[in-house]
C-alpha cells in the first residue's frame, strides 16, 4: 500500500469559488477504503462544504484517531495539515492544537469505535469543555479495520455478518453530546448529501463544540440483513426532523419550502441556517425537547436526523480560559520570558 496522489487534470471550465479554488483544490489522496464505503461519501460532503464556504484549505486542521474513519482525512483537504493520532485520543490532541492557535478551523474525524468505546472519555470531556471544533463521528456500528467486531453503537439485537446477536445496549452519541453541553448537535446519513453538506457547513461556522453523528454503513462488514446500520435499514427508518439550507450572505437561497414551516437560525459571521421543519414540534433551541425527540423516535424504531440542537451564542474553551485574542503560538521570548530584574526580586523574597 502506498500514497496515491490524484491526477491534477481538470476541466478547463471548472467552477471556482470566491477564493478562486476549484473543488479539486480541496481533495486529498485517492481513498484506499472499500468501494462503496459510506465514509467516502462523508469525505466528499466535507470537500463540498468547505469548497462552498470558500475557506482557504490551509486554515483548516484535520485530526483523527485510529480506524477506517480516521484514515479518511488523507482523502480530503490535501492542502491542510492533518494528524492521524492515537486510538480514541483525537479529542485531546485537537484540544491542545486549538489551545495553541485559536484562529484555525478544527475538524475532528472519528468513528464509533474510536469515540464510543476507547475514546468515550475524551469525546465527553472535549465536548463539555466547549472546544471550538467540528467533531464528526462516522458511525457504522462496527470495527472495520479489524474485520467486523461489534462497536459500542451497535443496536441491541442487531446481527453481525456471521449472525451473532449483539446483547449490549448501544451508546447514543447525539444524546450524550446534548447532555454534555455540545452547542451544536446533528445527525445525518452518509447517503443523504443534501442533508449532510449544509449540516457540516453550519457546524464549521458554529463557534463552539459542534458534534455530528453520521451514520455511515460499512459495506464490508455491516450492510447485511439484521444490521441496523445498513444502507437499506437506515433509508427505511430515517426520521428527518428538519431539512436545512446553509445560507452565507453571498449565496442565494435555492430551495423553496411551504410558508410557515421554516425558521431562520442566524450565526455569528452573518451566515444563517434556514430550517425546514419536517417535525413541526421540534424546537432546535431546547435541549430537553431534542432529547425527547431522540427517545420518541427511537421507541418507534426510527433514527432521527437533521439539526437536533443548537445554541447560537456558545462560549468556547478560550472564552472560559480568558486567553488573549492572538494565537498563543505567535508569542515569543520578549512576551513570554520575564526579566532577570524580576528574578532578582523573586530571589530576594526567597531568602
Amino acid at each position: 500500500m502506498s500514497f496515491l496522489p490524484k491526477p491534477k487534470f481538470r476541466h478547463p471550465a471548472i467552477e471556482t469559488n470566491d477564493l478562486g479554488f476549484t473543488h479539486r483544490d480541496y481533495e486529498g489522496a485517492i481513498s484506499t477504503l472499500c468501494a462503496g464505503c459510506g465514509h467516502d461519501s462523508i469525505s466528499a460532503a466535507i470537500i463540498k462544504a468547505v469548497y462552498e464556504l470558500s475557506l482557504p484549505p490551509h486554515r483548516i486542521a484535520k485530526l483523527s484517531g485510529i480506524g477506517c474513519s480516521s484514515k479518511t482525512p488523507t482523502y480530503f483537504l490535501g492542502a491542510s495539515h492533518g494528524f492521524n493520532s492515537v486510538h480514541g485520543r483525537m479529542p485531546s490532541v485537537l484540544t491542545g492544537a486549538n489551545l495553541a492557535n485559536r484562529d484555525l478551523i478544527y475538524l475532528g474525524v472519528s468513528g464509533d469505535g474510536d469515540s464510543a468505546s476507547i475514546g468515550l472519555g475524551q469525546f465527553a470531556h472535549s465536548i463539555r469543555r466547549g472546544v471550538n471544533m467540528v467533531y464528526i463521528v462516522e458511525n457504522n456500528g462496527v470495527y472495520g479495520l479489524t474485520k467486523g467486531q461489534f462497536s459500542a453503537t451497535s443496536d441491541k439485537g442487531s446481527k453481525n455478518k456471521r449472525g451473532v446477536v449483539n446483547n449490549d445496549a448501544p451508546i447514543d452519541m447525539v444524546s450524550m453530546a446534548i447532555e454534555l453541553g455540545a452547542t451544536f448537535v446533528g445527525r445525518s446519513f452518509s447517503g443523504d448529501k443534501t442533508q449532510l453538506v449544509p449540516l457540516i457547513k453550519a457546524a464549521i461556522e458554529h463557534r463552539g463544540a459542534a458534534f455530528i453523528d453520521c451514520i455511515s454503513p460499512c459495506v464490508a462488514f455491516n450492510n447485511h440483513e439484521g444490521s441496523t446500520k445498513s444502507f437499506d435499514y437506515v433509508r427505511a427508518h430515517n426520521a428527518a426532523l428538519n431539512a436545512l439550507d446553509f445560507i452565507t450572505p453571498r449565496a442565494p437561497i435555492s430551495t423553496e419550502y411551504e410558508p410557515g414551516s421554516t425558521e431562520v437560525v442566524r450565526l455569528h459571521d452573518g451566515s444563517s441556517i434556514r430550517l425546514h421543519k419536517i417535525d413541526a414540534n421540534h424546537n432546535v433551541h431546547d435541549r430537553a425537547e431534542a432529547m425527547s425527540a431522540i427517545h420518541r423516535h427511537k421507541a418507534a424504531g426510527e433514527i432521527v436526523t437533521g439539526l437536533l440542537y443548537i445554541d447560537e451564542d456558545p462560549q468556547d474553551l478560550h472564552t472560559n480560559l480568558g486567553t488573549i485574542a492572538r494565537p498563543l503560538n505567535e508569542l515569543n521570548a520578549p512576551e513570554l520570558s520575564p526579566s532577570q530584574a524580576l528574578l532578582d526580586k523573586m530571589n530576594a523574597a526567597l531568602r
Binding site: 492533518g82 492515537v86 495553541a100
Partner: protein
C-alpha cells in the same frame, strides 16, 4: 553525656497531619536560615489529609550539607501515636521536647535523653478559648520554646511572622504573643540553651530557599511555555499549581486582562499528554507534570510523539511505584520507564536536576531541547527535591536569551521555494524541518502520522523508507548529546582508580559522603550525570577507572542498566549501590555501602582506616 553541637544537628518534629504544624515548622527552619546557618527541611508525610502521622525533619548544617542525615538529635514529640519509634530514632545523648500536660511514664523515655516537658495543651487551654486557635497557637508556642532552647534569635522569627502575615495584620499580634508565651516559659523553666544550639554564622550568603517543583514551574514560565495540561498526582501537583500562580502574576496582558497562557486540568494523564502534543504540533510550547503512574498511562502517546517528531516537555516528579505504592515517598525509579517510554524502538532525552536551581534551569532548557529535537523531553525530578524546600544558588536568566524554536520553515521560506520534506535530513544532523499548520496556502502542509511515511510524509508501508527514517532518528538522538547538559566531574584529592556516578537528588548526600570518605582515606572520583543521552565524557570516565559505583534511589540500578546498554559497559565494571526504601538517601548510607564494598574487594587490611 548529652550531645553538644553548635550549628550541626537534626531536629525532628513528629506531628499529626492536618494540625497546622507545617507553617510553624517552616517558620522554625527559615529563622535558622536568617541566622546565616544553612538548613534543609524535609516533609515526611502519609497519603492522607488529616489524622495520620507526619514528620518534619530539619537538618541544620553550617558546613552546608543538604542531604538527609538520618536519626535526630532533638525530637519535638507532638504525636503520641509514633512516640515509640520516634524516641528510638534519637541519637544517643539526644533531647526530647514534648507536651507534658498529661503525664508520660518514665519507662517511655530513654535514660540517655535530656527530657524537656512543657505543658503545651494546658497553656493553650488557659490562654485561648477557640478550639482552632488552641491547636494552631500550640504550634507557634513550641516554636517560641525552641527559640529559647536553641538560642534562635527571636527577632528573626518575629520578622518572619510579620512578612508571612503582611496584608493580614490582625494576625501578627496574636502570633507574636504565642511565640513569646513559649519563649518565656522555656527561659523560665529550662536551662537555655541546651547542648545543641545555634550561633549566628555567615554560611548562607546569597542562597535562596524554595521547592524544586516551584522552581520548575517558574522555569516553565521563563522557558516560554504557554500551554499546560495536567492531572493531579502527588508529588507533581504543586508544579502545575506553581506554573499557574506565576502565570497569573507574570503573563496576564496588562491592557486587556487576557491570559498569555492556557492551563487545562485534564480528565486523565492520557488526555494531558494528548493536549500537550496537539499544542506543540501547532507551535506552542506545552508541558505536563506528572509522576510514575502518569508516565505509565502516557506511554502510547510518547511513541507517537517520538516517531511523528513532536516536541513535548514532561516533568516527572518521581515517587515510589506503583499506583498504590508509596506515593508520598521519594525514589528515582522511573529512569528506564522514561528513557525507553512506549512501544517500538524509542529513546528519549532525560534531564536530571540536582536541586531547585537546576529544576529552574532545566525546565527552561527542556523547551528549547524539545523544539530543537522535535521530541519529548523528560525532566526527572523526585519528591525529595520537588516538594521540599531546599537552599540553592539564586536563579539566573540572561535577558538576551531567545527561545530556540528549532527548525521551523516559515511562510517566507516556503514562498521562496525552499524545498520542504517533513522528514528530510537537510543538515546532516538528523533533524528535519517542520511547519506549523496554517503557514502557507499552497506549500508546507503534510500529514502527521507514526512511521508509515517517507521523507516527504507520504504514506508508505515499505521497509526501505521505514529503516531510513529509523536510522535518521538515531542520528538525531546522537546529535542531542552535544546539546544536553554535560556531566559534572568532581575529582578526588589524589589519583584513584575508584569512581562513582550519581545523579539528581542524591547529589547533596553524595558530596557529604565524598568528604567523609576522603577523611577515611578512600579517594573516589565522582561524576554527576545530568542528562540522557550520555556524552562521551561519561564512557571515558568509566573507562578511566577500574571500578565505578553507581549510586541511585531505586532497587534495580536503573541508571547502571542504562549506562551498560547505551555505553556498552561490562557489568562487572559497574557496582550498583541502590537505596530504595522511600526515605531520601543519606551520606551515612553511601559512606557505609561504599566502604563495605571497597573493604570486601581489598581485604580486611584496609578495614581499620575505613570507618
Amino acid at each position: 553525656m548529652p550531645i553538644q553541637s553548635v550549628n550541626d544537628f537534626v531536629v525532628r518534629f513528629a506531628n499529626v497531619n492536618g494540625s497546622g504544624s507545617a507553617s510553624a515548622n517552616q517558620l522554625f527552619a527559615r529563622s535558622i536560615m536568617r541566622m546565616g546557618v544553612p538548613v534543609s527541611p524535609r516533609n515526611i508525610f502519609p497519603s492522607n489529609i488529616q489524622g495520620l502521622p507526619t514528620w518534619y525533619e530539619v537538618r541544620i548544617s553550617e558546613a552546608g550539607h543538604m542531604g538527609a542525615r538520618g536519626g535526630s538529635d532533638l525530637l519535638v514529640a507532638m504525636n503520641p501515636e509514633t512516640w515509640g519509634e520516634d524516641v528510638a530514632d534519637i541519637e544517643p545523648g539526644g533531647y526530647i521536647f514534648y507536651d507534658s500536660s498529661r503525664p508520660v511514664p518514665k519507662s517511655a523515655f530513654r535514660d540517655d535523653l535530656t527530657i524537656l516537658g512543657m505543658p503545651l495543651t494546658e497553656i493553650c487551654l488557659k490562654h485561648y478559648t477557640d478550639p482552632r486557635q488552641r491547636q494552631l497557637f500550640k504550634n507557634i508556642i513550641y516554636v517560641g520554646a525552641l527559640a529559647a532552647l536553641l538560642d534562635i534569635d527571636l527577632a528573626e522569627i518575629e520578622k518572619l511572622i510579620g512578612e508571612q502575615f503582611r496584608g493580614k495584620d490582625k494576625l501578627i499580634a496574636p502570633n507574636l504573643q504565642a511565640l513569646r508565651l513559649g519563649y518565656d516559659y522555656a527561659k523560665a523553666n529550662f536551662a537555655c540553651p541546651i547542648g545543641v544550639h545555634l550561633k549566628r554564622a555567615n554560611a548562607v550568603g546569597d542562597l535562596i530557599f524554595l521547592e524544586g517543583n516551584d522552581a520548575a514551574g517558574l522555569g516553565a514560565v521563563y522557558g516560554g511555555a504557554t500551554v499546560c495540561a495536567w492531572y493531579p498526582i502527588t508529588p507533581s501537583t504543586s508544579l502545575a499549581e506553581s506554573f499557574m500562580a506565576y502565570c497569573k502574576r507574570l503573563r496576564v496582558d496588562k491592557e486587556t486582562g487576557k491570559n498569555k497562557f492556557a492551563i487545562v486540568q485534564a480528565e486523565d494523564e492520557l488526555s494531558s499528554i494528548g493536549m500537550v502534543i496537539g499544542a506543540a504540533w501547532n507551535g506552542a510550547r506545552a508541558f505536563t507534570a506528572t509522576s510514575g503512574p502518569g508516565i505509565s498511562l502516557m506511554q502510547e502517546f510518547f511513541g507517537l510523539a517520538y516517531f511523528a517528531e513532536i516536541p513535548a516537555v514532561v516533568f516527572d516528579v518521581q515517587r515510589g511505584g506503583p499506583s498504590t505504592g508509596i506515593p508520598t515517598r521519594t525514589q528515582q525509579s522511573d529512569i528506564l520507564l522514561a528513557a525507553y517510554a512506549s512501544h517500538g524502538d524509542t529513546k528519549h532525552i532525560l534531564l536530571l536536576p540536582e536541586d531547585p536551581y537546576e529544576c529552574f534551569e532545566f525546565a527552561a532548557q527542556a523547551f528549547d531541547l524539545a523544539d530543537r529535537f522535535q521530541t519529548p523531553v523528560f525532566v526527572m525530578l523526585d519528591l525529595d527535591i520537588g516538594s521540599n524546600h531546599r537552599m540553592c544558588k539564586p536563579l539566573k536568566w540572561d535577558d538576551s536569551r531567545q527561545l530556540d524554536r528549532g527548525k521551523v520553515m516559515t511562510a517566507e521560506d516556503l514562498e521562496a521555494g525552499k524545498e520542504f520534506g517533513r522528514y528530510l535530513d537537510v543538515d546532516g544532523d538528523g533533524i528535519p524541518y517542520r511547519t506549523y499548520p496554517g503557514t502557507h496556502p499552497k506549500r508546507g502542509a503534510y500529514f502527521t502520522r507514526g512511521t508509515t511515511k517517507d521523507r516527504y510524509a507520504r504514506y508508505t508501508e515499505l521497509a526501505a523508507p521505514y529503516i531510513d527514517n529509523m536510522e535518521r532518528l538515531l542520528k538525531k538522538f546522537d546529535t542531542a548529546k552535544k546539546y544536553v547538559p554535560g556531566p559534572v566531574l568532581r575529582k578526588a584529592s589524589r589519583k584513584t582508580d575508584l569512581g562513582v556516578i550519581y545523579f539528581g537528588s542524591t547529589s547533596a548526600s553524595m558530596h557529604e559522603a565524598l568528604d567523609m570518605l576522603e577523611k577515611d582515606g578512600v579517594h573516589v572520583d565522582a561524576l554527576r550525570v545530568r542528562a540522557f543521552p550520555f556524552s562521551a565524557e561519561v564512557s571515558d570516565f568509566i573507562a578511566a577507572h577500574d571500578r565505578v559505583f553507581v549510586i541511585e534511589q531505586n532497587r534495580d540500578g536503573q541508571l547502571r542498566t542504562l549506562l551498560m546498554v547505551e555505553c556498552g559497559i561490562d557489568p562487572a565494571q559497574l557496582t550498583s549501590i541502590p537505596h530504595y526504601g522511600g526515605t531520601p538517601i543519606t551520606a551515612r548510607f553511601i559512606r557505609k555501602a561504599m566502604s563495605d564494598a571497597v573493604n570486601k574487594a581489598t581485604g580486611a587490611g584496609r578495614k581499620e582506616t575505613i570507618g
